[in-house]
């Protein structure tokens, strides 16, 4: 029963089952090396050897622990000694703790992989009664695990650059990380759900959150729908058989999409300036208005301005998309409808529209998710302004994401910002997930 033998050996010393029982030396050594690496990191990044040699009398994990033990200690306590040169830096401890935790999980996965491999190799020998030679075995190992071997380096980079920061942000939501507790001067503490409670029960926070959320949802919905339908209208007009110079018009109308958004937005910010903006001046000179319109400084008009500027920026994407969809429509449907006596409007309403909706539904949802987080569209145009004194650090046109940005960069309210990031992530993630579940691309996975 080599499978149990190999398994039990590999339980303690990684790869030993493969090495001794299954005679797969290289593979066994590979696993053993990883185990030695794991132990080595801990031993040599800490002071365990000196401790074992009796050189350290007042041993503590805080001062003498290795990469893993100190990491986990930091994650749990977030530091014990305040400030100064020799104090603990909670944020650093948290990041290192999360990194240590990730590395431990990676090694655990390797450990289980080693167990599974030992068992399977043993099973193979039990069944066939012969040992595989090294070359043959390595070839099989590489062949079976090819996808993992290629993806692991990319996956590790992904884990640290994308996943780790997200985990950090989520954890921040459960800390008292704000202006009053800034490392390295102060230590941080785990506060459980206090920040969530604060956001929903402290009137100024909940009131601001609610107002910002309502505007964010309104903006997402109106901003997406106006660009969608206006893009469709432009595509229909461009597609009309009588239109000349289609390519010239198409190229011009694509410009707002082609020009870098930030430049366009900053241009509009100056064009619409309430005091000496060219738009106001032109309207004054034409005698259409008698005094300046506060395009960006009146709460309501600023919102309108944002929607209209966004329409200018956003319609080309949908226009181009719809042109593509129109080109792919099955013409025989329209011929059949014409034979059945449908007029142009009926065939548009009953055939074109449903097909276009079906073809662009996924993009519409993705665009909504994008607008929900359209930081630039707000920040570069109004900076979230005009200021609103009865809101907590938010302006009248701030959407959640630009408010979070202000809370983080200007107010150093990392904890509340993190709580909102989590809520926002849950919302957008859920919508996208639901959207993907509906689409064919998921079923084909």
């Amino acid at each position: 029963m080599k499978k149990y033998k190999a398994l039990s050996l590999s339980l303690l010393i990684w790869g030993s089952g493969q090495f001794l029982v299954c005679r797969q030396k290289i593979k066994g050594l590979f696993f053993l090396l990883l185990q030695l690496l794991f132990i080595g990191i801990e031993l040599f990044s800490g002071y365990w050897l000196q401790y074992a040699g009796g050189l350290i009398s007042d041993f503590s994990i805080r001062l003498h622990g290795g990469f893993f033990t100190k990491g986990i200690w930091g994650l749990i306590t977030l530091g014990e000694k305040i400030g100064g040169k020799y104090g603990d830096h909670s944020t650093m401890l948290l990041i290192r703790g999360v990194i240590a935790l990730f590395v431990i999980i990676l090694f655990l996965l390797v450990y289980f992989w080693n167990l599974k491999d030992a068992y399977c190799s043993g099973l193979q020998i039990d069944r066939s009664g012969t040992y595989t030679d090294i070359k043959e075995d390595l070839r099989r190992f590489y062949s079976i695990n090819f996808a993992y071997i290629v993806l692991i380096p990319i996956g590790i980079a992904f884990l640290f650059i994308v996943v780790m920061p997200i985990v950090f942000s989520v954890l921040t939501a459960f800390l008292n990380y704000n202006r009053d507790h800034l490392p390295p001067g102060k230590l941080l503490d785990w506060v459980g759900l206090a920040n969530f409670r604060k956001l929903f029960t402290v009137p100024i926070w909940s009131h601001t959150f609610f107002k910002v959320l309502v505007w964010t949802i309104l903006w997402t919905f109106i901003g997406t729908m106006t660009t969608y339908f206006f893009g469709m209208l432009q595509a229909l007009i461009l597609n009309h058989p009588v239109v000349r110079c289609k390519n010239v018009f198409r190229t011009i109308l694509i410009l707002p999409w082609a020009i870098p958004q930030m430049v366009s937005l900053l241009v509009f910010r100056n064009l619409l300036n309430g005091q000496f903006g060219p738009v106001n001046q032109a309207l004054l000179n034409l005698g259409l208005i008698s005094e300046n319109i506060p395009f960006l400084s009146d709460p309501f008009i600023a919102k309108l301005s944002i929607i209209i500027v966004n329409l200018w920026l956003g319609f080309p994407i949908f226009m181009v998309m719809m042109l593509g969809v129109f080109a792919n429509l099955d013409q025989s449907l329209f011929e059949a409808a014409a034979i059945d006596g449908a007029n142009k409007y009926q065939s548009f309403l009953r055939i074109t529209l449903p097909l276009v909706f079906q073809a662009t539904a996924a993009n519409l949802i993705m665009s909504m998710a994008g607008n929900f987080n359209a930081f630039g569209a707000i920040y570069f145009l109004t900076q979230g302004g005009p200021n609103n004194p009865d809101m907590q650090f938010a302006g009248s046109t701030d959407i959640l994401i630009s408010w979070i940005y202000k809370l983080t960069l200007n107010q150093q309210m990392y904890d509340i910002a993190a709580v909102m990031s989590v809520l926002l992530f849950l919302f957008v993630g859920a919508v996208s997930f639901w959207n993907f579940r509906r689409t064919v691309s998921f079923k084909e996975l």
Binding site: F158, I166, V243, V325
Partner: protein, 273 residues
């Protein structure tokens, strides 16, 4: 008669829209040639001058910002395309345990705006001692590009018949040879899309470069440009305009040249529905 009216109305609408699109564009271009420093209220076509461009090069580090950004854009383009293609190829062609979960996970994670985790990213690079170095931004961009683009390219590769790979294997190609000689040449359009979109990303991205590369010497263009106009609002508007025009024109031209591919990339999900 009715047909004539339709023709007139349609063209009138298109011409009007073209004006609405072009006016802001013309205004910023002409602003960059105006005398004075504030946003011009009325464009003066007689006194056009190159002063602002001279000031841009002499008084700001524009050229350095341009060079920084170009370096990042190029490196990001190469690295992202490599990472995206390999990941998407594995996801499309190999069945392994955890594949579906992995795809789902990267999908959801790509919904988390990168800059919400800026504090963590900053601290991470601070720990690694890479804040202020271009490499930090390149890493974040390239790895951050994986989720969305992997889905896109995987969708494209799923449409390429597997029989072609099989034929290559029959001819004795290894997996990587097949990837290089079959998959990559077959995916030119989607590679072009990824390459162009990744190349363009750093030019106008603001938040992350602002956090990771805030010094004047290491700045990217967007951060530098915004500094010209922000706070000191209209003081330097015409200089800002010249900087904006110098960068927006090449980007727009690149966009128009590659629009076919960019449009494909955007509407890749459209015909699936």
């Amino acid at each position: 008669m009715k047909k004539k009216l339709t023709v007139f109305l349609l063209h009138a609408e298109l011409i009007l829209m073209s004006f609405i699109v072009l006016i802001p564009v013309m205004w910023i271009i002409l602003s960059s040639f105006q005398r004075g420093s504030g946003p011009p209220v009325a464009i003066n076509l007689k006194g056009l001058t190159l002063d602002n461009y001279n000031r841009l090069f002499s008084e700001t580090s524009y050229f350095l910002w341009f060079y920084n950004t170009f370096k990042i854009a190029l490196a990001n383009m190469v690295l992202s395309v490599l990472l995206i293609m390999i990941t998407a190829w594995i996801m499309s062609r190999f069945l392994f345990r955890g594949r579906k979960a992995g795809l789902m996970a990267i999908m959801i994670l790509s919904m988390f705006p990168t800059f919400l985790s800026m504090t963590a990213i900053y601290t991470l690079f601070l720990t690694l001692g890479l804040v202020g170095k271009s490499i930090s931004l390149i890493i974040v961009y390239a790895v951050g590009a994986i989720p969305y683009n992997t889905w896109l390219v995987k969708g494209y590769l799923d449409g390429v018949p597997k029989a072609i790979d099989e034929a290559a294997y029959m001819d004795g190609c290894t997996r990587f040879q097949t990837f290089r000689k079959v998959i990559l040449p077959m995916s030119k359009p989607i590679i072009t899309y990824c390459a162009v979109s990744q190349f363009m990303l750093p030019w106008m991205d603001y938040i992350l470069p602002n956090i990771l590369l805030s010094g004047d010497r290491s700045r990217t263009l967007a951060v530098g440009l915004f500094a010209l106009i922000n706070g000191k609002e209209s003081i330097n508007f015409t200089v800002f305009a010249s900087g904006a025009v110098l960068i927006a024109v090449p980007i727009t031209i690149i966009f128009i040249i590659f629009q076919k591919y960019l449009v494909q990339g955007v509407s890749a999900g459209a015909d699936k529905g």
